[in-house]
Amino acid sequence: MPEFLSDLLLPALVPLGLTLKVSLTATAGACFFGIGAGFALSRRNMPGREFLDALCTLPLVLPPTVIGYYLLVLFGRRGVFGVWLQETFGVSLVFTWQGAALAACVVAFPLVCKAARTAFEGVDQNLEHAARSLGACEGSVFLRVSLPLAWRGVLSGTMLALARAMGEFGATLMIAGNLPGRTQTLSLAIYDAAQAGRDNEAMFLVVLTSLVCILLLLASGKFLKLSPQT
């Protein structure tokens, strides 16, 4: 047992911790932008709605390497945003865990956005009208009526986004690389171990990842069921 601990579990804690850090940050970002975009897309008077919807869905269908390449072009050392970030905040996203989080955020974003749009469209418009006629401004209508009524759908999208962010591989590899201890998340570590023929390690990481994902799904299922009926 101690041998097993020192050989497999302890080294796995680093990529596990990194994976959680990256995916939770990514999910927070995807949630913030996804709810906003989903809400905007659910408004019928939104101009160019279907075009914007297609644009928001793009990360879901594009190969992760394509997304990774776009990110590299935009946020790389010579990219528009990359230069800006470097000059303003002195940070670079290339080969950093923040870069991995950005990649995971972009691929997870459509899942929140889609779920949020559907959920907001399901909110009875009369309820929003009623709130307006009772003196609520648009921000208040959103916070007091639309979001509380749509939150289940938003939450289920968020859970999917978290799962997607945890499994992110391609785009992360492109922008953040595969640096053990710095940007090597679980999925990258598994690839690394399998490539190098470290079968025990690969198998252990695979089982660990599966367990974390199962726990996550169970927790989200329980969470959704426990919420009060609306």
Partner: protein
């Protein structure tokens, strides 16, 4: 309530086109828009509430201009100060009865209720005999109780006028007669003028006042009677005697 209204609105769908072009004015405390379904009554009410912008025209309530296409004026619904009671009540399913009633009294983005607002809610709930249900979810209420909650919610802000969109049509007949009276007397007690939409002659009999007859997007006739049941009987005779093209 002094309501002057003159609006035009064209609605297009694939199959047909509907043109609403109406104008009327009234000084009474009760106005009833009467006509068959699809004659443009609800559209008119939504225009007054600020939920639908007409293509052209003007709406004036108690001397205050709410909409004027020529001047490009369209006061947002939240600033119009009119209460609205929906056909399906549109109670907030995620809020308790008390929070539904107090919705319009809340302050700030999140609608916090201060002590004065909570006292007002308690007073209104007491008035309607709903105190015991204050913490209940609207989903647990009967049809009549829901209607009372919707009424209190609309009246809590002391609106300049209360707009009622076929408020009694979803109730069974016995309850309907009772709620009709209850709603009218409550509005009277609180001094709130009403604009009621209906296709039920019995509603006309209860509310009386100015009766505006709608037919296929036009105002066919405007007659003023005494407010309430006193004028209501004559008003009912008027609408029963009218022949609407929708009914052949």
């Amino acid at each position: 309530m002094a309501l002057r209204l003159e609006i035009r609105k064209t609605l297009r769908s694939e199959a047909q086109e509907f043109e609403l072009s109406v104008s009327f004015e009234s000084e009474g405390r009760s106005i009833v828009l009467f006509g068959p379904s699809g004659s443009g009554k609800t559209l008119t009410l939504r225009a007054v509430a600020g939920l639908m912008a007409p293509d052209a025209g003007r709406i004036e309530l108690d001397g205050r201009c709410l909409f004027d296409a020529e001047r490009g004026l369209d006061v947002p619904a939240r600033e119009r100060g009119v209460g609205l009671m929906f056909q399906d009540y549109a109670l907030f399913p995620h809020l308790s009865v008390a929070h539904n009633v107090g919705f319009g009294l809340g302050r700030g983005l999140l609608g916090r209720l201060d002590a004065a607002a909570r006292a007002r809610v308690a007073e209104l709930l007491d008035l309607a005999g709903l105190t015991d249900l204050a913490e209940a979810s609207p989903n647990r209420l009967s049809g009549g109780q829901r209607q009372r909650v919707a009424l209190l919610r609309a009246l809590a802000r002391s609106p300049h006028a209360l707009l009622l969109d076929e408020p009694f049509s979803a109730l069974d007949p016995l309850l309907r007669a009772r709620m009709r009276r209850e709603v009218r007397t409550m509005c009277q007690a609180l001094g709130t003028p009403t604009l009621l939409i209906t296709h039920d002659p019995e509603d006309v009999a209860e509310f009386g006042g100015t009766v505006v007859l709608y037919d296929q997007g036009r105002v066919r006739r405007v007659e003023a009677f005494a407010d309430g049941p006193e004028g209501g009987a004559d008003a009912r005779e008027l609408v029963l005697g009218e022949r609407f093209s929708a009914y052949g």
